[in-house]
Symmetry: C2
Subunit: 206 residues, 2 copies
């Protein structure tokens, strides 16, 4: 916690390094990532990186922490939308027919990083936190919808568990196969589930 | 296809090597796997391994091929069971509260291998094939259930897409977090989905 630390003194340097890590990940993937390649994207001195991080994995854990701050701070629940629209938002964001190249590369790197979590405690701790964060966000949307009379009286935590599993499973299948899942079919079936189990006032409503 | 190849001549040698690969994967995980460690589990000469495989990744792709043959040949649809029981079987197999240590290690290695698929064509080809195989198996069970009047007239391919995504997502979340998903909650919600959308004669049946 020395006050001389540039990353603690200036958010700007930290942000620039995180941006460089993001860019290098998109370009080279996890396996092709090196400190040199991150440095190539970083406008400041490479020695600044080594001053703070022992290597690629330590820097990546910091990067993941930076990303989760972004998700916590920058993706608040949009209260101008009703609960049904809030529930559709992550589906619209993740279950799309195609990803642009940069986004594809980034998602692919995230899958590779997350797979490390099965044997790496620091990664595991991070992905447990993000998993819990997304579960809390989905649970909150479901709870709001129930309170506002838009959703049936489902168990919000249990329902969020299924929704999050579908979103994670869809990304995992997509990034590790050619052409699976059929996103249109998956989305159609997920809508059937949402209409028959969650929404009030649709076909089969109570 | 030279007849002198010991792996083409004797299934026994190939099986022993695949068993050794399995054992080494369970013990050391993907990251800790080396040809030496596979050889330590292999009762025959290490040179036999190098005679056929250039390195760890080539051997692992062969191993994955071996595993898929097993799934195709050894896990036929059990026609002594009705379609509902057949549909529950993969859920009972995969959505259990705990995995034994060997199985945990193996599943964890499979997640690490599958994550390679996002940047490795040979792995990608393999996991596309397994994904399609499991999708076909689920679709066949759904089709049988519809024909036998056990299931509603759902779109079997679309429904299989959601089920397979849930199974893959559950494994992926489980192997990369501490304690997610809540398997009991996930299973309960999946049962709600199956009862309300697929099964005839349950609550809310048509």
């Amino acid at each position: 916690m020395a006050p001389s630390s540039p990353f603690q003194d200036t958010d700007e340097t930290r942000t620039a390094l995180m941006q460089a890590t993001y860019d290098a990940l998109c370009e080279h993937g996890y396996a092709g990532l090196t400190i040199q390649r991150i440095s190539d994207e970083f406008p400041k001195s490479k020695s600044l990186i080594y001053q703070h991080y022992d290597g690629k994995d330590e820097l990546l854990v910091a990067f993941l922490g930076f990303m989760i701050e972004h998700f916590e701070n920058e993706v608040p629940i949009d209260t101008s939308k009703n609960a049904s629209e809030q529930l559709q938002a992550p589906l619209d964001h993740l279950l799309v027919p195609t990803f642009e190249e940069d986004r594809y590369e980034f998602m692919s790197a995230m899958i590779e990083l997350r797979a490390q979590a099965s044997h790496n405690e620091a990664y595991r701790e991070h992905f447990t936190k993000t998993d819990q964060l997304f579960h809390r966000q989905l649970t909150a949307v479901l709870r709001t919808g129930i309170e506002h009379g838009e959703f049936r009286a489902v168990d919000p935590e249990q329902t969020a568990e299924l929704l999050l599993t579908v979103l994670d499973g869809a990304i995992f299948r997509r990034m590790t196969t050619d052409g699976s899942p059929d996103i249109q079919a998956l989305r159609a079936e997920l809508n059937e589930y949402i209409h028959s189990r969650i929404l009030i006032g649709d076909n089969g409503s109570e």
